[in-house]
Subunit: 197 residues, 2 copies
């Protein structure tokens, strides 16, 4: 799942370098999850089994690491969308995807905040990019489910995502999967209702 999108046209990373970059990314994701976006970078490097130097070479500034993790999460979410579309029937796939989106929204909470405050309003490029990929990935699932008749026709992906993330943000302890799932259930059921046409 390509990690260097449109940024560099440079020569591909050397094998060990690529490995380390991946280890850093996943360590960072763990730590940001546990300790928020101002977790210790040295600890991240340590946990990745890598020297700090390597961390700083890959991500010269903290914000770049955060951004990479953020993008990485979105990547996974999209990939998982494609996977779900193949293994489940349309509505179930869409619902499962939303469930994963909740987890993503959790991490996004801190990440998006840190990005915004660090990049100021230059953060728009990141958000626009993410928005697009999320939309197109969600559209595929949603439209399939709609065509299949499992979900009402008068909603769009972003409507749903907004509703869902609204539920999470509003819930004080969105980390408790049981509670969020119950809340999410309400939205999901709402999606099945079909207005009289």
């Amino acid at each position: 799942m390509g990690q260097q999108g449109a940024t560099t046209t440079a020569r591909p990373l050397r094998a060990d370098a690529a490995r380390n970059r991946e280890k850093l990314l996943s360590a960072a994701r763990e730590m940001f999850d546990e300790a928020g976006t101002d977790a210790s970078l040295e600890e991240i490097a340590r946990r990745a089994g890598v020297g700090v130097g390597t961390l700083y070479r890959n991500f010269p500034t903290r914000i770049e690491l955060i951004e990479a993790v953020y993008r990485h999460n979105v990547d996974e979410l999209c990939a998982s969308g494609a996977r779900l579309a193949e293994s489940l029937e349309p509505r179930a796939a869409f619902e499962a995807w939303l469930l994963e989106f909740v987890a993503y929204a959790g991490s996004k909470r801190g990440l998006a905040g840190a990005l915004r405050s660090a990049l100021g309003d230059d953060a728009s490029h990141v958000f626009a990019d993410v928005h697009d990929r999320l939309t197109s990935s969600g559209d595929a699932l949603l439209h399939a489910a709609q065509a299949d008749g499992g979900i009402r026709d008068d909603v769009e992906t972003m409507d749903v995502l907004r509703a869902v993330s609204g539920v999470c943000m509003a819930a004080p302890d969105w980390r408790d999967p049981a509670k969020t799932q119950r809340a999410l259930r309400i939205v999901l059921d709402g999606l099945r209702y079909r207005p009289a046409d």
Copy 2:
């Protein structure tokens, strides 16, 4: 403008202690303005002409300092409201007060954010308190202006404040007084319009 609200029933501070506390508060306000809410505490102490020990004695944790500054700003805003009510005619007073609110909203930007993310949702007590004081202070000015006929009757303080802060937040560089004033002007003019009754 008591600074120890409902927390301590303790003996009043010694004279020098009170002085230092005040110096710290104003230094903190400066620094938070310039460098955001994670400005160096040592630098704040330095700028206040006080040892770090003194800072930590008054505000054991960074978040307590932030909260104090936040409250302090609100205090000033309310006090200034009362002052304006005496020295200007009703509508002008209200408008002037809104202008000051903009400055406050600027600082609030960072402060409120830091509070929310640090206190989680236990921050509600702070916000409720602030909300109340803001409302009652604004009401006095607004109602006077409405009675005087300078401002339409069908708005409430919080409507106005929301509109105003919306303007500021939306404006990329709300720190430029000229631009914010121009934006603010639009809201102010809107307030003079009287719907046909």
